[in-house]
């Protein structure tokens, strides 16, 4: 289905975002704004903190505002008592709920500006088709990606160049917000089918192949803990992996310790992960962490009923509750 240009106009989004930020700062509703700005390269739209209304011109909304701004709220709250405004995509908004459910965020200290999201572009996929150095800008118009490559303008079908996580996104519209920046978009077709496709592919392997597959992945892990640091579900004040007494995780680079880390990290987000994919995006070693997180989501859904984290901050995550007639994944005889 062809989406109309006016349905998802990035330029107007940006204008609206700047306007909201400016008003909020000028009216002193908030003392700072967290959003995205453009950096040096076409694929970079990192998170930015602004305090001066004059700076709002830096804010952008483009195909690369991928980064989740949510985890910065923890630092903000720790360091100052003032109210902050934050722009969130659908996935980011579930991170807000994640922090609320974990009682790590005081709702009244955050103004949430929801940005309905048409999906973000995958720079890797673009680089594979176009010479990176010649790309000047990338924008999304409807269902088309428009690239300025050298002197030409290229128009391609956006779906082929979106992030995998966006193709399987079930909640492109923010689920919690004080103000919505634009009209809601409709969720992508086939999102449900692609959600567990990678998990199923790994599941179809035999035990030894699976082990070999994951060893290949984890061999690259340098235990930089970036996946943990960026994950809104990993919001403990002091992570067990950082503790010395008891020492839960060995410090040396032992493959068993790496496995320990990945098992326990995944276990700690089981029933709490809301599939923002930040862990996998940020991983410098390309470990497909979503395949692990989503496996647990799939397992919990199958055993204990469908549950999506980050939709309702008042419910209890699946591992915090039970039913007498629950099935077990082991021999109960």
């Amino acid at each position: 289905m062809q989406q109309k240009v006016e349905g998802y106009p990035l330029k107007e989004y940006t204008t609206k975002i700047r306007q909201i930020a400016k008003e909020a700062l000028e009216n002193r509703e908030v003392t700072a704004i967290i959003g995205w700005r453009k950096k040096d390269f076409w694929w970079q739209s990192p998170v930015v903190f602004l305090e001066d209304p004059a700076d709002v011109q830096q804010l952008v909304w483009d195909p690369f505002t991928i980064y989740s701004p949510v985890k910065f709220l923890l630092d903000w709250q720790e360091s100052c008592a003032a109210k902050v405004g934050i722009f969130v995509k659908g996935c980011d908004s579930r991170g807000i709920n994640r922090l609320l459910q974990d009682k790590r965020l005081e709702r009244e200290r955050v103004a949430v500006y929801g940005v309905p999201c048409g999906g973000k572009a995958d720079a890797e996929k673009i680089r594979a088709s176009f010479p990176s150095k010649e790309i000047k800008s990338v924008t999304l118009i409807g269902e088309e990606l428009v690239l300025a490559v050298g002197e030409r303008e290229e128009r391609v079908k956006a779906e082929a160049y979106l992030l995998d996580k966006c193709l399987s996104c079930r909640h492109p519209n923010p689920v919690v917000y004080d103000k919505l920046v634009w009209e809601e978009v409709s969720p992508r077709q086939y999102a449900d089918e692609s959600r567990f496709a990678r998990v199923q592919a790994v599941e179809s392997l035999v035990t030894e192949e699976r082990f070999a597959y994951w060893q290949r992945q984890f061999d690259r892990c340098i235990r930089c803990f970036a996946c943990r640091n960026t994950c809104p579900a990993c919001n403990c004040r002091v992570c067990i992996f950082d503790q010395a007494e008891p020492r839960w995780l060995g410090k040396a680079n032992d493959p068993a310790d790496t496995l320990n880390y990945h098992i326990i990290r995944a276990f700690h987000v089981a029933g709490r992960c809301f599939e923002c994919g930040e862990c996998e995006r940020i991983c410098p070693a390309g470990v497909p962490l979503q395949e692990l997180n989503r496996k647990l989501i799939k397992g919990i859904n199958d055993a204990y009923g469908d549950y999506e984290a980050g939709l309702d901050p008042t419910d209890v995550p699946p591992l915090g509750t039970y039913r007498g007639e629950d099935p077990a994944g082991f021999d109960e005889s």
């Binding site: 320990n260 692990l292 496996k295």
Partner: protein, 143 residues
Amino acid sequence: MPVTNEGFEPLIVAFCCNWCSYAGADLAGVSRMSYSSNVRIIRVPCSSRVNPSFIIRAFQRGADGVLVAGCHPGDCHYHSGNFFTRRRLTVLKQMMEYLGIEPERFQVRWISGSEGAKFAMVMNSVAEEIKRLGPNRKLRDVR
């Protein structure tokens, strides 16, 4: 290449809840039901006290199999502990199998304080399965 595990004596760590499975182990003893000496028991108040980190740690330190045993669902001394155990360890077990660890390596069973015979039988069958699998190399510390 056929794998022979002749002479392999596995190490199996069993976390037993104090009220049911540990009592079941005691009953097996009182009834002189012999079972594999490869099993070593750690007493915990409730199966819900067993942190997945303990299980992984046992494998890292060289356990060839880990068993968690608790009261039957509904019989928990602490009312609901084993219901949480069931969910947590189901998730952990699914994950370990997904990562390519043999399902037999990590097992969870319900054994009541009156099931001495079952305790002995389960220990023997677990020991047998682990013996057949051979040593744990996947989760063991290299150093």
